[in-house]
């Protein structure tokens, strides 16, 4: 279907009136993307009767230079350079009526180092375009020249581990529960018990900011007392993600400064503060030796449905450029949406320096990160010690495993919950490194470790039947097929 271009050129191109996008230069099937182009892949679902090529060209047009009619002022510019070019349209396998449109954008279309500008260009207008029934931004490729205009993660996995002095195993965290209603004094108790028990981190939830039951200063003061006491009691570095999300940047900076003054090693922000605020806090974090945790609050409103929105892999790429150190990226086995292959794609975006094209993981392009720091993915939501072998297998060791309910809900108390998680983790790492088939022997390895650890025994018993087996909505469109031998 990627035949002729039919682009109108010269004087005819600029005759007043309307013209099909595909004829205005937004459909160029012979165009070979330059190494310096930004490339976007959209899933386009045109309205009944709208030609897919024309719909895709319209996406290219409306996300770059076009408006609904021809304008003569194009002739005052190097218009051909600035036009985004749709160069390939493929039917989506198994989904009649939907098409993958590949669109290339010249680097000059974007302000260096600005996710706000990038996103305003690519997703600014076009998602409401009437001839489209639905539109989804599936993936993007950023040229190295553009990647290098961003700071990237303030700290990165390597330096985070060095600062924490924790190597060779996933980090362990817990979100304080109940997430609403605890006073500062009670909240700090949960932090202390969990950290003293053996977790590395505790975490504020996304909507813990400054409410009548607990104002932010109280939370910070009690939490840091808890962190420091746990540190002295264990001889290990501990941390708690103090959520500095607030109504204004001024308030966020004020909260960040108190966190620093109290000696916190990490602060936290929510995705809903916006891309510019995120980039500002990433710069603050780099200047102040602070790890920056991002909670992806709100993302499922636009990432979950396959037909319309923005894929989380694109958000993950933007956030690596923007400069956060931690990002929630799914658990596969927990309570929240997460297909194993799609999640694998997100984790690779976070942690690798080079992502090869892997359609079965949802990665449509080779992406070099040009030595930008690595982001630590965070797995949170409905996971427990009994799944440790699966978590390690699916997510690897550079990840924060957050057992909120799985720590605080332990029948013997919070510290016992933390011990159970840490013992389960260390036993699994030991077995993996010894070369054992830990995925299959997992339950046996845990049972063995529980023989000398009553808290682990209790955890395995109480949550033995908990699993969340539902169909994922966001799954890859491609499955690997065995190559035929000739």
């Amino acid at each position: 279907m990627n035949a002729h271009a039919g682009t109108v050129r010269g004087k005819e191109r600029y005759r007043s009136g309307t013209m099909e996008y595909a004829r205005m230069g937004y459909w160029e099937p012979d165009y070979v993307p330059k190494d310096t182009d930004v490339i976007a892949l959209f899933r386009v679902t045109p309205q009944e009767g709208v030609d897919p090529i024309e719909a895709s060209a319209a996406v290219a047009g409306e996300s770059s230079t076009a408006t609904w009619t021809v304008v003569w002022t194009d002739r005052l510019t190097a218009a051909e350079k600035y036009r985004a070019k749709c160069y390939r349209v493929d039917p989506v396998p198994g989904t009649p009526g939907s098409y993958f449109a590949y669109i290339a954008y010249d680097l000059d279309l974007f302000e260096p180092g600005s996710i706000a500008n990038l996103s305003a260009s690519i997703i600014g207008n076009v998602f409401g375009f009437k001839p489209l029934k639905a539109l989804r931004l599936e993936d993007m490729r950023f040229p190295v020249a553009y990647v290098k205009t961003f700071q990237g993660p303030a700290t990165g996995i390597v330096v985070e581990r060095e600062r924490l002095d924790k190597f060779g195993r996933p980090l362990l965290g817990a979100t304080v529960k109940p997430k609403l209603g605890l006073s500062g004094r009670n909240y700090g108790r949960v932090v202390y018990e969990a950290l003293k028990g053996g977790l590395d981190f505790t975490k504020d939830d996304e909507n813990i900011n400054s409410q009548p039951f607990m104002h932010w200063r109280d939370r910070f003061l009690y939490c840091m007392e808890a962190v420091n006491r746990a540190q002295a009691a264990s001889g290990e570095v501990k941390g708690t993600y103090l959520n500095i999300t607030a109504g204004t940047m001024e308030d966020m900076y004020e909260r960040a400064e108190l966190a620093k003054e109290l000696g916190s090693c990490i602060v936290m922000i929510d995705l809903v503060i916006g891309y510019t605020a995120i980039q500002s806090m990433a710069k603050w974090a780099r200047r102040n030796d602070m790890i920056l945790h991002l909670h992806r609050a709100g993302h499922s409103t636009y990432t979950r449905q396959k037909s319309h929105g923005v894929s989380f892999r694109v958000i993950a790429k933007w956030m690596r450029l923007a400069g956060v150190d931690h990002i929630h990226a799914g658990t596969v086995v927990g309570k929240l949406e997460g297909d194993p292959n799609t999640t694998r794609g997100y984790y690779d975006v976070c942690r690798e320096d080079f992502n090869p094209t892997r359609l079965e993981h949802g990665l449509f392009f080779d992406q070099s990160w040009a030595s930008l720091n690595k982001m630590m993915p965070v797995a949170s939501g409905g996971i427990h010690a009994g799944q440790m072998h699966q978590l390690l297998d699916l997510l690897g060791e550079d990840v924060v495993l957050q057992f909120g309910g799985g720590t605080i809900g332990h029948p013997m108390g919070i510290a016992a919950g933390a011990i159970a998680n840490r013992v389960a983790l260390e036993a699994m790492i030991l077995a993996r490194n010894e070369g054992r088939d830990y995925v299959h022997e997992g339950p046996e390895i845990l049972a063995r470790a529980a023989e000398t650890c009553t808290p682990l025994k209790a955890a395995l018993e109480v949550w033995k039947d908990v699993s969340f087996n539902y169909e994922s909505t966001d799954t890859p469109d491609f499955v690997p097929t065995a190559l035929e031998t000739v």
Partner: protein, 135 residues
């Protein structure tokens, strides 16, 4: 207090057989193995004393275990840890670290609080003098 630094501090202390397997894991990954010791296991003490240079180019964990035995003979009253160092691009750092020796009497820390402006407190984690540390 049981110091819980390192990868395996929540498990019973590793046997030499278990340590050998972890060292072999490091070597299989191409990591250099380092033995370090200290009598100052403060959580912010990054630089423990090195027992010789990191062991590059080893094939067999036995070489490390011999060095460990020698280190323990001399510094058996201190903390000793083994770490695996990965020199590949993008890491160039420690990839695993675990304790392989503890002193007969473990270190104890206490928290010193200095009250500063408002309700803020400046915290220091300091070593308890050995005489006061619990057995």
């Amino acid at each position: 207090m049981k110091l819980t630094q390192g990868c395996f501090s929540f498990l019973p202390d590793l046997t030499d057989d278990q340590i050998t397997k972890q060292v072999q894991y490091c070597l299989a990954n191409g990591w250099a193995v380092n033995i370090e010791f200290t009598d100052d296991p403060h959580p912010r003490n990054t630089y423990w004393e090195m027992w010789g240079l990191p062991m590059f180019d080893l094939q067999d964990a036995a070489g490390v275990m011999m060095e460990l035995a020698e280190c323990r003979r001399v510094y058996g009253d201190r903390y000793v840890r083994i770490s695996g160092f990965d020199s590949s691009h993008g890491w160039e750092s420690v990839r695993i670290s675990f304790l392989v020796n503890r002193p007969p009497q473990e270190a104890e820390f206490e928290l010193v609080r200095q009250e500063v402006g408002g309700r803020a407190i400046r915290y220091s984690t300091v070593r308890k003098p050995a005489a006061h540390a619990s057995q």
